[in-house]
């Protein structure tokens, strides 16, 4: 570790992994509820389990991003963090607020939670992914602003590299676009229109900048390729992301009451969204092939290559599958979306966080890389989780194609629930793939406790 203050990243990483486990457990509950509708009812109804599953995902990714930024920024700026104390304080505030929110979801009915938390003062709740009560939303804003203040001040007093500028751009964008979660017009069309400004412009806009920046950082460290070369790639990826992703928001505006030109704009621009992801794939492999040193942390390099490939497949290819308006006419809101969502989130954002943790955690624990035994376990977990998500995606895609056919395309369309019963086999297979994913995650956590001390490399 080059700077003492980088150590604040550690609790963030640990919390991220803990919440990740929670997300997967609720994923398994949900998957079972798809086929056994009353499983755990009325204790944990489907809508609550789904909310916990998606909210835990978002929160653990945010913990990962913050941890990654706290680790990376001092090293890039070549100076200590502006205030490590503030970073730790924000960690506890965010963790407690997040935990209380989840407890709130599970302990009381959602409507009661809304009443208790002052939703009538400013109505922001009840919208997918942005279900958090008002105090939690405000908490997120405070934590995000203090976090941004902290890392921006660090960059300002230190060296300003392209990688940290891109990261700052991504993180500031993240905070700014979250503000649209407070804007909740009564007109449903306008509501959805601006809801996507948070949701889409996060995952298909500014988060990609965070992804690119983290990937560039780890590639510089592990391959020893010239910074100039890496930065040039980063610029290209950022440009392509912004050109395609911003107006690409339009691919969510088909047939929800927005003007028809969005069908053209959305289709055209979002059709190009796979390109920056493909750029990242080529980038990762190219840099690793041109490496000038053999970094002892092979697991981190594997995650870097993995995120390059899986982000392209999940976000790029599976996104493109249903991004054109005439196709989306049939696939809107089916299991095709769920298939895309799973692989895209895992491939792009779960994996880039796991890459950052894989690279930084051994160093935070006082060694350049983990022991061979630990790395072998970590790589096993990589393959178990990645193969499991590929199968989850394939099964959901099959379920989605059948659903579209049975429910929407065929001459005698079936009602929703009848179609669901006919594709139950695929939901069962998805659930088993989910169990494999959980096993992979257990192996992953085990790797932190295996053979760490036997071979001190640093």
């Amino acid at each position: 570790m080059q700077f003492k203050s980088q150590a604040v990243a550690k609790p963030y990483f640990i919390a991220a992994i803990g919440l990740f486990v929670g997300q997967i457990l609720f994923g398994l509950i949900l998957g079972l509820q798809y086929v056994l509708g009353d499983f755990l009812f009325p204790a944990i109804p489907f809508n609550v389990a789904r909310m916990v599953h998606t909210n835990l995902l978002i929160v653990w990714l945010l913990f990962g991003f913050m941890g990654g930024a706290y680790y990376m920024i001092p090293e890039e700026a070549e100076t200590e963090l502006f205030s490590p104390k503030l970073a730790l304080l924000m960690f506890w505030i965010f963790l407690v607020a997040g935990a209380l929110t989840i407890v709130g979801y599970l302990a009381v009915p959602y409507a009661t939670l809304a009443e208790l938390t002052g939703n009538n003062i400013l109505e922001t709740m009840g919208r997918e992914f942005l279900e958090q009560p008002l105090p939690t939303k405000l908490g997120i804003v405070v934590v995000a602003l203090v976090f941004l203040f902290n890392i921006t001040m660090t960059v300002l007093k230190g060296k300003k590299t392209a990688i940290s500028i891109v990261l700052l751009l991504g993180l500031w964008g993240l905070a700014v676009f979250f503000l649209f979660s407070f804007y909740n017009p009564t007109n449903v069309v306008l509501d959805k229109f601006f809801w996507w400004w948070t949701v889409h412009l996060w995952v298909e806009g500014v988060w990609e900048l965070i992804l690119g920046s983290f990937l560039a950082f780890v590639l510089i460290k592990t391959t020893g390729v010239d910074r100039e070369v890496i930065e040039k790639w980063l610029y290209v990826i950022v440009t392509l992301t912004l050109i395609s992703g911003i107006i690409g928001t339009g691919h969510h505006y088909f047939w929800i009451g927005t003007p028809e030109y969005w069908q053209w704009w959305g289709s055209i621009f979002s059709a190009l969204e796979p390109i920056p992801f493909f750029g990242m794939t080529v980038f990762a492999f190219n840099m690793v092939n041109r490496r000038r040193r053999e970094h002892p942390n092979k697991a981190a390099v594997l995650w870097a290559l993995g995120t390059g490939v899986m982000a392209f497949l999940g976000a790029g290819v599976w996104g493109f599958l249903h991004t054109l308006a005439p196709v989306n006419y049939y696939t809107h809101g089916t299991q095709i979306t769920a298939a895309h969502g799973h692989m895209a989130f895992y491939g792009a954002y779960a994996m880039v966080n796991l890459m950052m943790i894989s690279y930084a955690m051994p160093i935070l624990r006082g060694r350049a890389a983990n022991s061979n035994k630990s790395q072998v376990l970590e790589m096993w977990s990589f393959w178990l989780m990645t193969v499991a998500i590929v199968f989850i995606t394939l099964f959901l895609t099959a379920a989605g194609i059948l659903q579209v056919w049975l429910q929407r395309v065929s001459d005698a369309p079936l009602p929703f629930m009848v179609a669901q019963e006919k594709i139950a086999l695929f939901y069962w297979m998805r659930e088993w793939a989910g169990v494999v994913f959980l096993i992979g995650l257990i192996v992953y956590i085990t790797s932190f406790f295996v053979g760490g001390s036997e071979k001190e490399a640093a």
Partner: protein, 201 residues
């Protein structure tokens, strides 16, 4: 990767000049990405038009081809001035660099004025992107291009300020060439767009 051949010993002969990429590699990636977006847009236009040729032909006649032609002339002239600026840099003729960039910028400004006149006539007649598919494409394509002219002029402004500080010459035309390449792209896109949307039947 692209810290271009700065070796001062290289003679600026035509043979060498034709083999090297003018400007920065990154700007070429950017240009390719931009052209790709427009290419997809043009292809979509062709696709939509093929499904409804009569409607497209009918509303195409409402466009002002003379103003379009004037704008084509302005952009080509603007590109010519920018070429002169780059050549002036290669010959170390410093005053000519900034003068020609300024003339190129003025051509861009002229384009914007003409375009605004054209738009105000159309919008004044109550035409919007929701009027029909032809106008959707006409407004979208020309508006995206309009924004690119503005971006090109911002880049020319930077080049002009830099050239006034004596930043460019025969051994350092890298930034100038990068900006010039972008400006030529703006011109090139219009040369495809104008016949496609205004003229072609």
């Amino acid at each position: 990767m692209t810290t271009m051949m700065n070796s001062p010993s290289t003679p600026p002969t035509e043979a060498v000049a034709s083999r090297r990429l003018p400007g920065d590699l990154a700007i070429w990636f950017f240009i390719l990405a931009e052209m790709l977006v427009f290419a997809v847009f043009f292809a979509t236009y062709a696709f939509a038009r093929a499904k409804n040729v009569e409607m497209f032909n009918l509303y195409q006649q409402t466009l002002d081809r003379n103003l379009g032609a004037l704008n084509t002339f302005l952009l080509i002239t603007g590109s010519w001035f920018v070429v002169l600026a780059v050549q002036a840099a290669h010959h170390d003729n410093r005053p000519a660099i900034s003068r020609n960039i300024l003339l190129g910028w003025l051509c861009g400004g002229g384009f914007l004025v003409v375009k605004v006149i054209e738009y105000s006539a159309k919008f004044g007649a109550g035409i919007s992107m929701s009027t029909n598919t032809f106008y959707m494409f006409y407004i979208s394509l020309t508006f995206f291009h309009f924004m690119h002219v503005i971006l090109g002029m911002v880049i020319l402004t930077v080049l002009w300020l830099q050239s006034r500080n004596g930043a460019y010459g025969s051994h350092n035309a890298h930034g100038l060439e990068s900006g010039a390449a972008y400006w030529h792209m703006v011109d090139l896109l219009w040369i495809v767009l104008f016949p496609l949307v205004y003229v072609m039947r």
